[in-house]
Symmetry: C2
Subunit: 487 residues, 2 copies
Amino acid sequence: MPRLMGSALTAETGLIGRFRTLLGDDAVIVTAAEMEGFVEDFRGRYRGAALCVVHPSSTEQVAAVVRACAAQGVPMLAQGGNTSLCGGAVPAADGTPPVIISLARMRRIRRIDAANGSMEVEAGCVLETVQNAAAEVGRLYPVSLGAEGSCQIGGTLSTNAGGTSVLRYGNTRENVLGLEVVMADGTIWNGLRALRKDNTGIDLKQLFIGAEGTLGIVTAATLKLHPLPTHHALAWFAPTDPQAARQVLGLFQANCGARLTAFELMNARQLQLVVEHVTDRRQPLEGAHDWHVLVELADTQGAADMEAALQTTLEQAVEAGLVEDAIVASSDRQRAALWDIRHSVTEANKKAGVGLTTDCAVPVSAVPAFIEQATQAVRALDPQIDVVIVGHMGDGNIHFIPMYPFDVWRALADATATGAAMRRGVNDAAHALGGTFSAEHGIGQTGLPEMAHYKSGAELSIMRAVKAALDPRNLMNPGRLIPDPLH
Amino acid sequence: MPRLMGSALTAETGLIGRFRTLLGDDAVIVTAAEMEGFVEDFRGRYRGAALCVVHPSSTEQVAAVVRACAAQGVPMLAQGGNTSLCGGAVPAADGTPPVIISLARMRRIRRIDAANGSMEVEAGCVLETVQNAAAEVGRLYPVSLGAEGSCQIGGTLSTNAGGTSVLRYGNTRENVLGLEVVMADGTIWNGLRALRKDNTGIDLKQLFIGAEGTLGIVTAATLKLHPLPTHHALAWFAPTDPQAARQVLGLFQANCGARLTAFELMNARQLQLVVEHVTDRRQPLEGAHDWHVLVELADTQGAADMEAALQTTLEQAVEAGLVEDAIVASSDRQRAALWDIRHSVTEANKKAGVGLTTDCAVPVSAVPAFIEQATQAVRALDPQIDVVIVGHMGDGNIHFIPMYPFDVWRALADATATGAAMRRGVNDAAHALGGTFSAEHGIGQTGLPEMAHYKSGAELSIMRAVKAALDPRNLMNPGRLIPDPLH
């Protein structure tokens, strides 16, 4: 049975009937058991209630659902693969239970134009499906991240997903040419252009990318494809410290230009957790080193050239005293094994304890200072705290993770307050350096207090004005992204 | 003397006095003679009247000017280098004369962070100054276009300027990390972040990029810098036709990946006009060819590799029957001479006659069809019309230019109507192929009827809602970008 607010019972029952008429009975889910996977996030940290879950199969059906909700003033929450790390994809524990509009049945790849480097897909396509479809025509859709096997394109668009290819290809925002959006009143905006250049008025698609469903529901997109790099060269090295890592990044940028594709940093503690907690993961270098970097070059040809460039650059770095040790992957198998270490951090950290994941970015030049100052901040709160660091150093995006053993966490007097204080300490360090508290994860539920705390009044006012203009009754994913939207 | 509307005389005189107090006497221009360079565009095609021209030197002064105008309901027009090709930077011939807010005195480079690849500059900095300052620290600011010696950063941001580097580096939009904007009520929004990743709410800077000053006045920006390519390889070749040019583009993308920096197409007529009308320009290839392409690769190293890649790719193309003839530049001098041909088209076309410049983009795959269908459209109107074609083929952006000898143009019964019909024919051809009527020039005054004609009601409604939210009294550059903004 859906959870209903007593007084609204009749109207809401009417709404569910309307959905059944519009979409068919099998596309409307109302029982608690069936709604289970939609009202709780995949890590089991956020849980809310929904009026029902609907599964439209077309843009027109989404529009009809939105119109029906709007007519009764019922809030809506668009959901993709439900892989948000900050409670962005499930209803809040309080507030009016929304209609969850799942995009999962809208999963057609409508069109691929390899010559134009573009691809029109529906919002419910799984990211990996899109990557594979592009690769089949010799093209690359570059957005790549841990959840790519289950997250949906609509979700990656609404959160402007980052990942491990941002250094070279940019965030999701930079890989979108056009959007189709259902607005708060049910109007369909067709902005599915496949153009590299189009200067005709306000670039509306930018509003919906990263808006987390608060301004409208993305139903389809035209994505930008790139030439598919078929040759890769990868190295793992130990910089003497984060400052040295930054200098080596500079060497790679100078020597390898646009072929530089990844530059991922982790500290010794992060590597140790992966080796301890994930099967078949081994230390890549001999001896103990405080810091580790995975660096990758990619191109459409010239593997030998790239390996030579890697080798030369690392030799320069060793000579300059910036690097303690390094290996260059000599086979695809070795390359995959090194990437496996990087991709295992989430699994390892989940097994190792309670990690207070943060998602700061600072200017790349400020990464060493950020790591130092964030460490001081959390050690001031707890001198024993374990600090795990992993990040996309090339983008200045460092996941700084204070980590508690499970038993220590359980023994804390007020774990929630401790967690909030720790995160605030890390975020303050980033903010002081011109950085952000959310580089790629978005706001969801977790980030709302941080929005209110760090954003200027001017910035919040502009956001509220835009929100009020496009969703005047605050029905689209209310309680997300913008604090007090009707302020 | 400023042109004043009779009834508003006192209030407006008061406003000028207020500006003098705020900015100093030398920063307020009111005589017709001194305003001359601000009220007419550089080609002498658009002319309007202004209440006065003010020259604020700081963001706070801009904000004070905006507040003063807002208090009296006087419209404002922000002006940069006045190099718009569509009347975007000067007042309209009709309507209330605005206060022109020149950003020319705001020309400080506030900060360069080479390690972060970022640079904070004020809106009045000339584009070339910015390019040079970046190069001095070994970095590239990639936006490059004909007017770079006089256009200002604020103008390039407000129009999302394109140019010859878009293929590799994207438009201006993709090279901006942060903005500082004075809003319609005089509030200053400081969004000068220097971050590669920041997912904290609506990405407000996107609203102002390309908004042509209708939502606020950009006073400063944090620009994205890239590694400076120090090695270049360039070729000029004659593809058999546009379809062959498109296929050769595909070969270059496959063989040269991210090093491909320019792929510029022109027809024989365009080349002929350059050779005839500009001193020291010569045909680069022997014999007659219908189509010409300039292709350039650039990287931070490996000039020999790039020349080899150029050579190999062109040989493949010749073997496949796609290319009639080709030369690879063998020196920097030769390279510069070939670029000089490309950069001389505006001068040549100005001398050759009256060119009805258009600025369409279509999907790259549709460029051959666009050229064919646009040619049919204009020949249907005038079988004798001379067709000049030059464009950024790699972006699908083709400047298709019906060209009249001066005497023929003057003899036309209704030149304005003929020009409009010709342009509409070209734009229709682009629109039918999913293209746009303005790829990089923007809307200004010329494009407003096209906005009303081609944009969907849904799209215009969203733009109007955003405009009304941020500039409810329509005082920021009224009569631009959005038709009937208070509709």
